[in-house]
Symmetry: C2
Subunit: 212 residues, 2 copies
Amino acid sequence: MKLYGDHESGNCYKIRLLLGHLDRSYEWVDVDILARETRTPQFLDKNPNGRVPVVELDDGNHLAESNAILWYLARGTDFLPAQPFDQAKTLEWLFFEQYSHEPYIATSRFWIHYLDAREQYADKLAEKREPGYHALRVMERHLAGRPFFVGPRMTIADVALYAYTHVAGEGDFDLGGFPAVRSWLDRVAAVPGHVPMRRRSRSAAGGAKPAR
Amino acid sequence: MKLYGDHESGNCYKIRLLLGHLDRSYEWVDVDILARETRTPQFLDKNPNGRVPVVELDDGNHLAESNAILWYLARGTDFLPAQPFDQAKTLEWLFFEQYSHEPYIATSRFWIHYLDAREQYADKLAEKREPGYHALRVMERHLAGRPFFVGPRMTIADVALYAYTHVAGEGDFDLGGFPAVRSWLDRVAAVPGHVPMRRRSRSAAGGAKPAR
């Protein structure tokens, strides 16, 4: 299996994190978003929406959308619950992540950490604060008294929400007021098989800005 | 089963449309978004994220996120493909809908059609144009030569994308340049069991603005 991705992207990290837990091998193919490598005809044949991650399966088929990939890879493993209602709750959190969390928390991080453009995006960043903190409050309420998002062990709901929550500070979100979220982050990172997010060294780009 | 929703919401219409095709009965419970009925303690017990639709199952459990609800209700029917890879492609389109389509096409419609505030949101509407048309181009490319999004018959991927695409004009998106999308809209509406979106009469509110 090939995984087309960008190491600074939390959406790509989700797939690496799950594959680490599943101990599955894969070939990583680096795709440079800022160089518009996701918009070449060759890449658009893999994903017409022009986004990473994309996986290329051994039969040559492609699958996009990080959370659809998580679902596909987790089938038949402990990372997708067996019962239909628990599966539906897992999907509920995956859609929550893409609609109510990622557009605020990940996008803020993208502008601040990835583009190093906090001043340029000041107005847009301000608009992201309240909905981003709303998402964190929803998570905090749910995690109070629960070890993981769905059921007694880590599932792909945790994988998806961990990816951008554990670097929320890089988007200027303060997790200080979210003790249940912080405990859950620690629990997720302590599950055997955990792999950290890989980061491109800023100095490798020859300047203060990230390489891409 | 109870369905908590708002008749002007395409996300709620998705569930009504699938239930129509499945010929399943349910109790509709009207929730007034603009009156903040989705943010009462009673509603937040059903969905801590404070959004419709929410379904209440016969065992008292609640499920939120329109596309997670579609997936749960479609299991075991022709509206969810049987093969795992086809299921994953269906999920891929469901996540595309929530991340790359709904935030642009549905949100534009919300400001124009629902709030009647085209002038107030002029700058934000302008930002929504290009990504909204990008989503339509992705759909057009995929539907050229295909009857439906995944496989030979209608699935929940079509249900989800039909909901806001068929009223894209109410958000000032012109489908004139998207013949494959328009043919697909006709095909979806012609499948037996189709139910139209219900609309609240503007005159019922006693003025030019929609009732909510």
